[in-house]
């Protein structure tokens, strides 16, 4: 015997445990299924009611769907009512059996009892599928003209659903909708207005086209509402029918957008609503909110916009959280149009960032990112970083990336930018995107020396304070230590008064070692630490020998690592950094990357075959291996071959064009000739042959961003581009190279030309003189030897002498190791180095070389660049 609904509810509520409840439900469910199978009619509506209850609790009730259909077909009103309710709750739009209801619905739509018609319309409005809509639309339409407002309002909403499901039917029914606006009943009015908004949403052109002429009627309706006086039926806290007001405003927003004429008709009423609405209660605020949105969307006049922004400002200061949320939301949409007005409220918005409510914080954060400009960037970024500390971790990555965007665009100076990025990494290093890491490294590397020193000192301190969790911070810190470790050995005081002491090399090494020993250290960090150790052998080369030895030991330790990558690196590095190895060349400091081009290149991916992606600099652990600066004394072969490896594009080298995008693009498609001209800091005439006049001060441009071009940035004079280039008319002439450092080079040919080995001074500055002597066995051969002799006339030794040479394309070169790296003072001894060159254009072109010299003298590091062109003819 089935129980009453009330009893079922009572017994479920009295269950103490979940399993008890499950057993009660399953028992009753079984009884209902039996009843369904046995087709017991009299309890059908009670059973469906019980099924509805079980459905609300979350149990399976699909077996009751057909029962609902049977109930709907019954002539009794209570059964129909429960049947339709069951249909609406147990079935969804996707249910197949819903189709079977169409016939019953059609019958009920034609029923004499208006409440039954109402039930049918309600069901259509909630559930209709596209097919059902097509079938029943005409019936529904008939009811739009019904005599009873009760039916009319339900028909309007049923029609809204039908049209949403079948947008193509809109044109048929548009006219009928228009006539609904003349109704007196508020129910019909509000449903009609909502129907019109719905139509404008699904078919904007049709909807707006047909309804825009009704704007005066809408305005009139709104005005009537405002002047209506007290009506108990529609009153909500002193405002008459706020719902209708809000929906009217909504419709007017849609119709007025982009339409000057319609907007003009609305101006008065919008002003009236904005000024006269009571703000004490939520209903009034709801109307004001809608009104403000309307004003900001339609083509309203300036005075109205100011009024709207003021209302939003007032909302922002309201104590009610809901109002503040709404204000932040709307300001976010408005800030693009009128950012000055929003700036005035900046402090309030920043306070909202500290609100306990999460929705308000999210809106405030969005708004702050939109408000940042050059004036307020420092203050706002400080607030953002504060927020980053407390926000949830799923949002951190996003905030980091957006902060990077802010830092990119609005940094006042380099030091602030580097500071902010380091702080960002300290707070959220492990959640940062890779882009943030590479951008940080790029910015640090491209900043001035003072800022670099500051950055690397600060990073070491941060690394020390970190507990090993902020992976991003550790990666950037280790990279910077590797690159700029020599700066750590000097104390540093920055402009803001923060001072750092000098660190001992062993301390630095043990810091990095300590990081690798931590439990939380990942393999990525260890890989970079290995690279760091390898680079430090060069950076600390002038220190105590024990330091370099310790580094070698550390690298060797990883040769036995389980991880294959670490093992490989350790083996390769240990070979690189052995005594007298080629480490110096390959591990020298990386050339500078221009952040903008780095970003572009990382977007473009690597166009060159196997070229190192500039954007991956921070993550790459191979120290400029592909694009080694300088000759790489033991690397042998041609320097330019290395560059060719990258397909001849500068993307092969980690360096990127410092300045013009044009040259970057140019060189990306460059021919070999372009590559060479980059070396000599002259922009190549484009392969298309367009002539380019080379400005003398192009030095800073660094040509197409080839690493060598970068290196030799100091050279002012443009040099001859190579013969392989298509020869346009305005090719810069072959000038004698003006070496701004050297005194006039000794004229090669003629002066002492009878000597077998012409000698000239290639470089002379700061007590260092380099003389080149060209030797040739066979005068007709293209090969010769250039012996470079280093002389020190000062009174301090020059240690760590590092001599690098670059040659044009038509020359191949091989550098032999120097006789030593210390040039004793006061001419006490000389160092010499042999460079073997082959001039494939002998006779047509002279030898040319670009030199880079670096050494330490009296505790100061010196780096010089020069061009040697005093070569004799015929070599």
């Amino acid at each position: 015997m089935s129980i009453k609904l009330r009893d079922l509810i009572r017994s479920v509520r009295s269950c103490k445990t979940a399993s008890e409840e499950r057993s009660v439900i399953s028992r009753e469910s079984a009884m209902i299924r039996t009843a369904i199978r046995e087709e017991q009619e009299q309890f059908r509506h009670r059973n469906v009611a019980k099924l509805l209850f079980m459905h609300m609790l979350g149990y399976a009730t699909h077996f009751g769907q057909l029962e609902c259909l049977k109930l709907i077909a019954s002539p009794h009103f209570p059964e129909k009512r429960i049947g339709y309710l069951g249909l609406m709750l147990l079935l969804s739009e996707e249910a197949d059996v819903l189709m079977l209801a169409t016939n019953s619905l059609k019958n009920d739509l034609n029923h004499s009892n208006q409440f039954i018609v109402g039930l049918a319309l309600c069901t259509i409005g909630n559930l209709a599928t596209p097919d059902m809509s097509r079938d029943l639309a005409t019936e529904v339409d008939k009811h739009l003209r019904s005599g009873s407002p009760y039916i009319r309002k339900k028909a309007a909403l049923a029609m809204a659903r039908c049209l949403t499901k079948c947008p193509d039917m809109v044109e048929d029914f548009v006219e009928r909708i228009v006539s609904l606006l003349k109704d007196r009943s508020h129910g019909v009015l509000i449903t009609a207005v909502q129907l019109m908004s719905c139509v404008c949403e699904i078919e904007p052109e049709v909807g707006k086209g047909s309804f825009v002429r009704l704007v005066p009627s809408l305005v009139r309706l709104l005005r009537n509402l405002l002047s209506m006086g007290y009506s108990p039926e529609h009153d909500v806290s002193g405002i008459s029918d706020p719902f209708l007001q809000v929906h009217l405003l909504r419709l007017m927003t849609v119709l007025g957008e982009g339409n000057e004429e319609a907007s003009e008709q609305m101006n008065d009423i919008l002003a009236q609503v904005a000024t006269n609405t009571e703000t004490a209660k939520n209903a009034g605020n709801a109307i004001l909110y809608e009104c403000v949105q309307c004003i900001m969307t339609v083509e309203s006049e300036e005075g109205l916009r100011v009024l709207a922004i003021n209302i939003l400002g007032r909302f922002l200061l309201n104590r009610d959280n809901n109002i503040r949320y709404v204000a932040l939301n709307t300001l976010g949409k408005v800030v693009l149009q009128d950012s000055a007005a929003v700036q005035r409220h900046r402090n309030t918005i920043v306070d909202c960032l500290k609100d306990p409510d999460v929705s308000i914080r999210t809106r405030a954060l969005d708004l702050i990112f939109k408000l940042v400009n050059l004036d307020n960037v420092e203050g706002l970024t400080a607030e953002l970083l504060n927020y980053l500390v407390v926000c949830q971790s799923e949002n951190k990555s996003d905030i980091c990336t957006r902060t990077l965007g802010v830092v990119d665009k609005f940094s006042p100076n380099e030091r602030w930018r580097v500071d902010t990025l380091i702080t960002l990494l300290t707070i959220a290093g492990k959640d940062c995107d890779d882009r943030v890491l590479s951008a940080s490294s790029t910015y640090i590397a491209s900043s001035k020396d003072g800022v670099k020193a500051y950055a690397v000192h600060k990073l070491v301190k941060a690394m020390r304070d970190d507990d090993g969790t902020q992976e991003g911070l550790l990666i950037v810190a280790i990279w910077c230590i590797g690159e700029f470790g020599d700066m750590l050995l000097n104390p540093h005081t920055s402009e803001n008064g923060v001072s750092y002491q000098a660190l001992e090399p062993l301390n630095v090494i043990s810091e990095v070692e300590g990081v690798t020993k931590q439990v939380t250290c990942t393999n990525a960090i260890r890989q970079r630490a290995l690279t760091c150790f390898a680079k430090l052998t060069v950076r600390f080369a002038h220190c105590d020998a024990g330091v370099v030895q310790k580094l070698r030991v550390l690298v060797n330790k990883f040769k036995a690592s389980i991880n294959l990558e670490l093992q490989i690196r350790a083996c390769e590095y240990s070979n690189l950094i052995v005594e007298g190895g080629s480490g110096k060349g390959s591990l020298a400091r990386m050339p500078v990357v221009d952040p903008k081009v780095a970003g572009k290149k990382s977007l473009r991916g690597s166009m060159s075959s196997g070229g190192i992606d500039a954007g991956a600099i921070a993550n790459s652990s191979i120290p400029g291996g592909g694009g080694a600066v300088g000759g790489g004394q033991d690397v042998g072969g041609d320097l330019l071959d290395l560059l060719d490896l990258g397909g001849g594009t500068p993307a092969a080298a980690p360096a990127a064009a410092p300045t013009t995008n044009q040259s970057a693009i140019q060189t990306a498609q460059s021919t070999d000739a372009d590559l060479l001209s980059d070396i000599f800091a002259a922009p190549m005439p484009t392969p298309s042959g367009a002539p380019t006049v080379v400005p003398p001060a192009m030095g800073g441009g660094g040509g197409g961003g080839d690493l060598l071009g970068d290196m030799f940035r100091g050279t002012p004079a443009p040099l001859a581009p190579v013969a392989q280039a298509p020869a346009p008319a305005a090719m810069p002439p072959q000038p004698p190279v003006v070496d701004m450092f050297a005194p006039q080079p000794v004229a090669p040919a003629g002066n002492g030309g009878t000597t077998a080995n012409p000698t000239f001074t290639a470089f002379s500055k700061d007590n260092l003189t380099i003389e080149f002597e060209t030797r040739k066995e066979d005068l007709s051969s293209q090969s010769c030897e250039v012996v470079a002799t280093f002389k020190n006339s000062g009174f301090a030794d020059m240690t760590g002498m590092n001599f690098q040479v670059a040659v044009p394309k038509y020359i191949t070169m091989e550098m032999l190791p120097p006789s030593g790296t210390t040039v004793p003072c006061n001419g006490g001894g000389n160092v010499s180095q042999v460079v073997k060159v082959t001039n494939t254009q002998m006779g047509t072109k002279k030898l040319m070389m670009k030199l880079k010299i670096s050494y330490t003298c009296a505790g100061a590091k010196v780096e010089e660049m020069a061009t040697a062109s005093g070569f004799p003819v015929g070599y």
């Binding site: 609904l5 509810i9 509520r13 017991q40 009299q42 009611a49 509805l52 209850f53 609300m56 009794h76 009103f77 209570p78 009512r81 429960i82 309710l85 609406m88 709750l89 409440f115 109402g118 319309l121 409005g125 909630n126 009760y150 309002k153 909403l157 049923a158 809204a160 659903r161 508020h186 129910g187 509000i190 449903t191 909502q194 129907l195 719905c198 039926e233 529609h234 909500v236 029918d241 706020p242 719902f243 209708l244 809000v246 929906h247 909504r250 939520n282 209903a283 605020n285 709801a286 909110y289 809608e290 949105q293 959280n321 809901n322 503040r324 949320y325 709404v326 409510d357 929705s359 308000i360």
Partner: protein, 117 residues
């Protein structure tokens, strides 16, 4: 705490009445404040219908609460703004239900007696 939560691409608006939460889900561009008013309208109608409504009323008469909701909203759109109208149609339909039940009881009396299970 504010009464709005951003959820996926929609918004959740809720209002608390004693121990009950009335939750509505709306589009991101909908007016949240008026949604709060709509929730309040529904609660006021329930209050008038049940006479000082409490949670138990809604639990034991959920089908009636649904019927009232069906008179207030269809497909998420508001049907009427007048409490009086909504309650009027609800009570008329309740009367119809009672009439039918009496008729049904009288007519089916014999049926019930004979179909004992």
């Amino acid at each position: 705490m504010c009464a709005f939560i951003e959820w996926k691409d929609k918004k959740i608006v809720y209002k608390r009445y004693a121990s009950l939460f009335f939750v509505a889900c709306v589009n991101s561009d909908d007016n949240e404040l008026i949604t709060l008013e709509k929730i309040h309208l529904f609660v006021e109608i329930l209050d008038r219908y049940f006479g000082n409504v409490c949670e138990l009323d809604i639990i034991f008469n959920f089908h009636r609460a649904y019927h009232i909701l069906d008179e207030l909203m269809i497909g998420g759109y508001l049907q009427d703004t007048s409490k009086k109208e909504v309650l009027k149609s609800c009570s008329t339909m309740d009367d119809m239900m009672d009439d039918e039940k009496e008729i049904g009881a009288g007519g089916n009396g014999s049926r019930r007696n004979s179909s004992k299970k």
